[in-house]
Structures are given as C-alpha cells and as structure tokens.
Symmetry: D2
Subunit: 141 residues, 4 copies
C-alpha cells in the first residue's frame, strides 16, 4: 500500500470511529484509498420505509458516507455542497448494500465524486453524485 | 379540514407507523395535507458525522421522509426517482430539524417536490428537490 | 418600484446586453426584481432535438438564464455551482417557454434558486434548482 | 466495429442530422458506441454569458447532447427524466468543449449516464449526470 492510500485508510477509520452514524448503522469499510472508498451496511428493519423496502434516506446516507471518506481521503477537511441520487431498484430487508465512491474530478477546492450503490448480489440499487468543497484543516494529526 | 387533507394526514400517519425509519429517528408529523408535509426530528449523537455535526445523510433522510408523505398524500403509491440536496449550514447536536415539503408540479405520473430543511430557530440548513413517480396501488384502504 | 428591485432590473438588462446567448436565443425579460427573474423565449427550429421537440439543453439554458439574473440581482457577481433539472413534458416548436426564478434560501455566499419552466399556455415543462456562489465584484457601477 | 457499436453510430449520426441544435451549435461526433458518445463543440461568441465565459446552459446542452446519443444508442427511444451538472471551471471563447458520456447503470427502463466535460487541453470544466427513461419506438428503421 502506498503512503497516500495508507493515509486515506487511516482517515476513513478515524471518521468512522468519530461519527455517530456509521456505528449506529453497522457500516464497515472494505477499502479506502486516495479518492476512493468502499463501504457496506446490512438493511435492517429500522431502515425500512412504509413500503417495507430500504428507505431512500438510508441508501443516500450510506452513499454519502462513502463520499465523505473519499473526499476527505487526503486528510484535508472537505464538506458536501450538494448531492444527487437516482434510485434504480428496491433493496429488501436483509440485503447488504455496498457503496463504492470514486473521484471523478478535482479542481481547486471543488471535487466531484460518483458513488454506485449495489446489493450484495451485484444488482444496481442507486447512483449518487456528490460535489465537495475543501475547507481546510486536517482530520488526523 | 377538507377531505383531501384528511386523507393525506391518514396516509402520512400510516406510513410513519409502517416504516422502520421514522420511529427509529424520532420523526413526528406536525402537518400533512394534500401535496404537503411538515415533519421534525431532533439531532441525536447517533446522527452526527465525523466532524460532530448532523450527518448529511440524516438531513437528506428527514427531507426524503417529508417528500414521501407529500407525494403519497393522495393515497396513490409513489416512489422517489431522483433527488438533489444542497447543504447550506451545519446542524448541531440537540438542534431540531424541520422539513417542509411542498408540491411544485405534477404532470402525469411525475411530480416535483421542494423540501426546505430548517433548524428550530429558523436557520436554513438545506434545500432538497425530489422527483416522484406514481406507481399505483393505495397506501390505506 | 423600490431601489433593490430597480437595481435588479438594471443588472438583468446589463447581463442580457453583455451576453452572447440571450440575444442569440431571443430571450426577453418580463420582470426582474431582487432575487427574482421572469424571462421568455420562443422555441425555434434550431432549438429542437432529434425527436423534434425542444432540446432539454435549451430548456435548461433558459432556466439557467433566469437563475443567473436572480442570483446576480443584488449586483454582486455570483456563479452557478451546480444545477438540477427534471423534465415533465415536451415543448413543441412554436411554443413560448417562460422561466420564473425565485430565491429559496441564501446563507453566506451560497444561494438556492428554484426555476419553474412553463409553456405559454401554463403547461409545466420542467423544474430546475440551482446552487449559486457569490464571488464578489459588481456587475454594474 | 461490432454490430451494436455500428448501430449506435448510425443512431447518433441520425439524431444529429434530425435535430436543430447540433448543427446550429457546430457539434461534431468523435465517437459513438453502445452506451457511449464523445462529442465536441467550439465556444463561440453567441455562447458566452454576461461574464464573457461559456454560458452554463451551453455546457449543459453539449453534455445533454452526448447523453442523448448514449442513452438512445441501442435504437430504442429514450428521454431525459432529470439531470444534474456541477460546474468546476470556466470555459473561454475559442475553447473546444469535449463531452464524453458513459453508461453507468441500466435497470429496466431507467438508465444513469455520467458525462464529463473537458476543454481541448484536458481541463475539467463540468460533470453531468443524467437519468433516462426508455419510452420505446426506434430512432432508425
């Protein structure tokens, strides 16, 4: 593992440890590299909407988590400015959701990240695009 | 209250009761009318991100909840196709978040809803726009 | 007309005069006030897509024009950061398109604007949401 | 060239020929394959906004053109449902803009396409994501 990817992994692990959400949702990190993150979460009953499928808010939340790890991966604090999600298929109770965030472009303080959300069996569930803004300051010393 | 608004309220109450998310997040419904919903949620520790402010995913999730109540308000099942959120300010632990969804346009099976998310003191936190698609079937008999 | 609205109108007129696009597209300004703009354009043959209806790019472009007039209306230069459009119905050759931009929220240097695009007969054509960033500098002296 | 890619190229050529916009804007097709399109356009004076840089509407319009060629590439008519663009850098008069559309996911009648817009020298200008819906019917016989 090169140095940049090692730093990215430490940043992601630190963010997950500091945040309330990841542990509450059972998020785990499969991979975190410079400008990249792969995370997963199981769809629990408390994540279902009134149609008894995964709530769009939870699908977005997992994607947003991967986006955060990817856009903070250089240990420079960045925040989400805006994000868009398109929902393609329902995720069922018990499904594993896997979100993979990749850096698409970075110009000055702005970054664009694409996050694909799939079920454990590979079905496409949703596609997310996030715009980040680097605000400065480090995540870890 | 007219009949359409009464139906909308019953649909929203039913969705909240059926879903896993609203109760888990402590969502309450202030108002639900035809094409409209006003909901609130308190920012808890398990809703914070690694910067210790409300996770964007939870802000989106509350907005998406209000959107769902508004776009299902005529008791015809509708699902989210896509949604966009712009983040304007941080919400702190202990803040109350209030999401107000209004119907902007409805053409055929498509609907556009705008959701404003504010803190209890009126500060603008985020703006959300959702595109719904009516898929048929009733929420309540 | 109050002073702020008068300034907004002069800014919009100035932008339209300076830009290459508005005159090329036949854009006219019905109204421009603080945080608000109403513009129109006729759908010409050179604005049609391969299905012979108004090209989505031209519908977006008109909405983006109204957004620009609205977010620059205080005579502080602002630029678009991101924008989302949902298409609801086709616009035909000969239709007039009317875009109405309203300010939804403004926090610090960020602003969110909603733009409704309708045909001359009132049919909803598309809904647009734009996020602006104020970069400073005046449009007119 | 395989059959699917040959069909995609004929569809793109046909769409460009039928539409009013592409010829009016000087769009040319570098490449068109199944689920993919690469197009270009020179930034002319009539494409500039009031700040004398390429109008966001024209940048979107070029991306939307590439998106249309990619999502119609199987010769099944598809339309845009929604699209989002993030602007990263200004394009100047005389710049060439190149839009590259790639299919990200396709589920049932829905498709998600990512379009990167770059200047001729490789500078990232904007990132676009489009959601399409297949409506049936062929583009060419």
């Amino acid at each position: 593992m090169n140095e940049a990817d090692g730093l990215a992994r430490r940043v992601a692990d630190t963010l997950l440890q500091r945040e309330g959400t990841g542990p509450a949702w059972g998020v785990t990190i499969d991979d975190a590299r410079e400008g990249y993150a792969l995370v997963r979460m199981h769809v629990r009953d408390d994540m279902l909407n009134g149609h008894r499928i995964a709530h769009g808010g939870m699908i977005f939340a997992l994607a947003d988590t991967a986006f955060a790890y990817a856009c903070n991966s250089r240990n420079e604090s960045a925040v989400a400015q805006s994000a868009t999600i398109s929902f393609l298929a329902a995720a069922q109770p018990g499904d594993t959701l896997i979100a993979e965030a990749r850096e698409v472009s970075r110009v000055g303080r702005s970054g664009v990240y694409a996050v694909s959300i799939r079920a454990g069996d590979g079905r496409a569930i949703a596609e997310f695009t996030g715009l980040s803004r680097t605000i400065g300051g480090a995540i870890i010393n």
